[in-house]
């Protein structure tokens, strides 16, 4: 038995949608087996994971609130991955963005008078800080040829430790009984709620608009064309006069900015203050979302909602069925693997050739 892969000369749009859908179905089946192995009825688990969260207003809001940062970060990452740049440090950019924006919130705490500028300033500070932090691995790559994979990841740990230091030190609430957290933000430093008495805040709108903007940029602008060409044919991109260095810096800044914005949206929206931990691993989960969404903004939006659904469903399963949260993580890892594996069918004609590895067809 031998596996032959013949590259497709053109992509089939049907397979582009079908292959991740099949991967998702396969992951659900395997997940069901795992659930059964843990002694829970797969049918119950399916309902808890994928149906129950869709049936209540509060959990629908939670899904949107989880999907928003995931979609925002993943869209930024898509720019990098489209250009074959392996930025895996979005978690760090998220943290730095939250920290920088939150700092503005802390610094303006108790300010009187005109405060309408505070929230926009926080958002801008978060995005800029995320972009600047993302530029560190980009500059190292462009200037010195250092692989961005490891540097971007190492900087995640550094960012987390920096946040930890800041909320335990300079930014700690002096009246907070030594708890490692900042003061609670003023109303002017919080994202407004979309509906009275509910949890959905304006951050969801920001994320949606950003993803829509990214979709337009990627598909309809010369810059988006540049990103796509550099990823698909780097040499042709140079022939088109597109500069590798400039593009590397641009896409890292975009992805860092998007992750930073997601960070401050999370801090100014859901959390309302700075804490040692502001992310449940959004920056890493977003990598799954980016690939699950096939690196296209509309796909990413769908993928973010699916992943958010499984996360909320996982929390429900932990409470209702005593299924561990790690199951959700394993499911997500498995899902990414299957999506990547299924991608082979979209990119190649796959043929299983009979006979041994060194066989020839029966004549």
């Amino acid at each position: 038995m031998r596996l032959d892969l013949v590259p497709r000369t053109r992509r089939a749009p049907v397979l582009d949608i079908l292959s991740p859908a099949l991967a998702f179905a396969a992951a659900v089946v395997i997940g069901g087996v795992m659930v059964a192995a843990l002694g829970v009825s797969p049918a119950d688990a399916f309902v808890t994971y994928f149906v129950a969260p869709l049936s209540e207003v509060w959990s629908l809001q939670e899904i949107a609130l989880k999907a928003a940062p995931l979609a925002l970060i993943a869209t930024g990452l898509a720019f990098c991955y489209r250009a074959n740049l392996w930025n895996i440090g979005a978690e760090g950019h998220f943290v730095v963005g939250g920290l920088a924006g939150g700092w503005v919130g802390v610094a303006t705490h108790g300010a009187a008078g005109f405060t309408l500028w505070v929230l926009p300033a926080m958002l801008v500070a978060g995005a800029l800080a995320g972009a600047a932090y993302a530029l560190i691995p980009a500059v190292l790559k462009v200037r010195l040829g250092v692989s961005e994979i490891l540097t971007s990841l190492m900087l995640v740990y550094v960012a987390q430790l920096l946040l930890d230091y800041m909320v335990r030190g300079p930014l700690r609430d002096p009246a907070g009984y030594n708890f490692p957290q900042s003061v609670g933000f003023d109303a002017a430093a919080r994202l407004p709620y979309l509906m009275e008495g509910e949890t959905l805040h304006a951050g969801v709108l920001i994320a949606f608009l950003a993803v829509a903007l990214a979709a337009v940029v990627l598909a309809h602008t010369l810059f988006g064309f540049e990103v796509r060409v550099v990823g698909a044919s780097p040499r042709a991109a140079r022939f088109a006069g597109f500069s590798d260095a400039r593009l590397t810096l641009s896409v890292f800044a975009i992805s860092g900015g998007a992750a930073g914005l997601a960070g401050i949206v999370e801090v100014a929206g859901k959390i309302g203050q700075l804490q040692p931990e502001i992310s449940p691993g959004y920056g890493f989960t977003a990598i799954i979302v980016a690939f699950l969404g096939r690196l296209s903004p509309p796909g990413i939006l769908v993928a973010a909602l699916v992943i958010a659904l499984t996360t909320i469903g996982g929390e429900g399963a932990q409470i209702d069925l005593k299924l561990p949260l790690d199951l959700t993580r394993a499911f997500q890892g498995l899902l990414l693997g299957l999506v990547l594996g299924a991608d082979v069918f979209a990119r190649y004609h796959v043929r299983l050739v009979p006979g041994g590895p060194s066989g020839r067809p029966a004549s």
Partner: protein, 524 residues
């Protein structure tokens, strides 16, 4: 491993004479919908150098890979001394005594010479013993090698020696050589011919794949000619003329190119002044004080063997590599050495690189996107940074019509086009911009004869409209056909240009091999 097996199926009989050492009968090889070999028969006898002739894309490499066990034929059989043999992998081919000298050397750059050879040797031969045998063979055949040198530090000629030594160490009965002289200087080629003749006298069979007719006529007494995957004839090349062989190779599709007549040259449009660039990478060539000048209406041909600085010269002309001295490159008098490719395009220059797939065009992108690729600086294809897809499609359509590009579907991916059609597209894309200066690297490499004639004619017509054209080509016939003057690039140094009417292929060939003469000698 049981490589030889008698089957109950009837063994194809030799067509004439004694049983050949190796035979291939009814070979068909399909890649998807493309048929690379279509019912090919080939017989090779001991003690002969058998030529396999054909244009690029005729199916020579496919056939040779089947004989070496690298590809399995869709249909057909290979025989050894009349028995059908299985060639599931190169290991089996080697055990049958088939050796191969690859055109694109199968060498690992970061391994040493000895390591590269040890890779295909029997298990027990390694270390000191192997080094000894390499040394002995080197003395024996005049193939000197330093076993401990890493391959990346070696010249093309030295690399080929590794391939040959690696092949000879296995005492092969059949040696397949794929375009062995394509990267060699004439001197290196001479040395190779001596070795080949010696191998023939030792009673080995050699399959010599080439499209260089003079070499084939010199070395071989039997030739099989392939065209579009089919055998179109077998002959003794010494009894044929170069013209009749060429006719067999390319068929009757050759359209004559109308040459430039009494071209009146305008003012200088492209100029290089002592352009010097360090080698950009390990395997690249440094450019040394390259100077040239092309006037409006002129076609200057740059001859040379691959790897002598052509790619670097093209990059320096296009702006993909910036020159350290901005005055070293001039377009219509303006110093552009420091400008990028798009700035040079806006000054009226157009460029066609050697590699179609992945350099001149992005294979997975549509033709209209590929129109955008090089024309976005000069054509109104964007507005406020937004792409105008209609305008890009329209431009692609105009190129397709003007250059008779055959394609499937309304706006297919560039990679789905055949080599000749994609080349017509990328050349047409630039010519339709009516550039004042056009630089083309290998305009018709691997392109069928009809498309090649179309492209050459378009280039000549563009010059007639007053453009300055620089053609870099390894194909001397092409240069003598279209270029008004010719200069030779050797090891990063460019000779002075001489009118092509006043020199000969021999004189140019000598320079390509690095002869110390300053300019191609005038014809006697």
């Amino acid at each position: 491993m049981e490589a030889v097996r008698s089957l109950s199926a009837p063994v194809p009989r030799a067509k004439a004479g004694p049983t050949p050492l190796f035979g291939a009968y009814g070979i068909v090889k399909r890649f998807g919908s493309f048929t690379a070999n279509d019912g090919v028969d080939l017989e090779i006898r001991a003690g002969e150098i058998h030529a396999l002739l054909g244009e690029n894309g005729a199916g020579k490499s496919t056939l040779m890979k089947i004989l070496y066990g690298l590809l399995e034929p869709t249909e057909g059989v290979v025989t050894h001394k009349g028995d059908i043999v299985q060639l599931p992998n190169p290991e089996a081919a080697r055990q049958l005594g088939i050796g191969m000298v690859f055109q694109h050397f199968s060498l690992c750059e970061n391994l040493t010479v000895a390591e590269n050879i040890a890779l295909v040797m029997p298990k027990d031969l390694s270390g000191r013993a192997l080094a000894d045998r390499i040394a002995r063979l080197g003395i024996d055949y005049g193939l000197h090698l330093e076993p401990d040198r890493p391959v990346w530090s070696l010249s093309a000629g030295e690399r080929q020696r590794i391939e040959i030594v690696r092949c000879l160490l296995q005492d092969p009965k059949l040696v397949i050589l794929d375009e062995p002289t394509s990267v060699l200087t004439p001197g290196e080629a001479e040395a190779l011919f001596t070795v080949l003749e010696r191998l023939r006298q030792e009673g080995r069979a050699l399959l010599y794949i080439s499209h260089r007719l003079d070499e084939v006529r010199r070395l071989c007494v039997r030739a099989t000619i392939l065209r579009a995957g089919k055998v179109v004839g077998t002959c003794n090349p010494r009894e044929e003329t170069a013209r009749s062989l060429a006719a067999m190779m390319v068929g009757n599709a050759v359209r004559a190119v109308t040459p430039q007549e009494g071209a009146t040259l305008g003012k200088e449009r492209l100029r290089l002044d002592r352009l010097a660039l360090p080698a950009p990478g390990l395997h690249a060539t440094a450019l040394r004080d390259v100077s040239l000048s092309v006037a409006g209406g002129e076609i200057l041909g740059i001859a040379g063997i691959a790897g002598n600085g052509q790619a670097e010269l093209f990059a320096a002309l296009s702006g993909e590599t910036r020159a350290p001295d901005r005055e070293a490159v001039r377009l219509d008098g303006a110093p552009v050495g420091a400008l990028g490719i798009n700035a040079r395009r806006r000054l009226g220059a157009g460029f066609v690189p050697e590699e179609r797939n992945g350099h001149a065009a992005a294979p997975l992108m549509s033709l209209s996107e590929n129109a955008l690729l090089s024309r976005h600086p000069t054509a109104p294809l964007t507005r406020f940074g937004l792409i105008r897809p209609g305008a890009a499609r329209d431009l692609a359509r105009r190129v397709i019509e003007a250059f008779d590009v055959r394609k499937a579907g309304p706006d297919p991916a560039a990679g789905t086009l055949s080599g000749g059609n994609l080349q017509k597209f990328v050349v047409g894309r630039e010519i339709l911009a009516e550039p004042g200066v056009l630089v083309i690297n290998q305009p018709t490499w691997g392109v069928d004869a009809a498309a090649a004639a179309h492209i050459r004619q378009a280039v000549i017509d563009l010059a007639a409209r007053g453009a300055a054209i620089l053609v870099i080509s390894q194909d001397l016939d092409e240069l003598f056909e279209i270029a008004g003057s010719i200069a030779v690039l050797h090891d990063g140094t460019l000779s002075a240009a001489v009118p092509s009417a006043e020199t000969t292929r021999e004189a140019v060939g000598l320079l390509m091999g690095g002869s110390s003469d300053a300019a191609p000698a005038p014809a006697p």
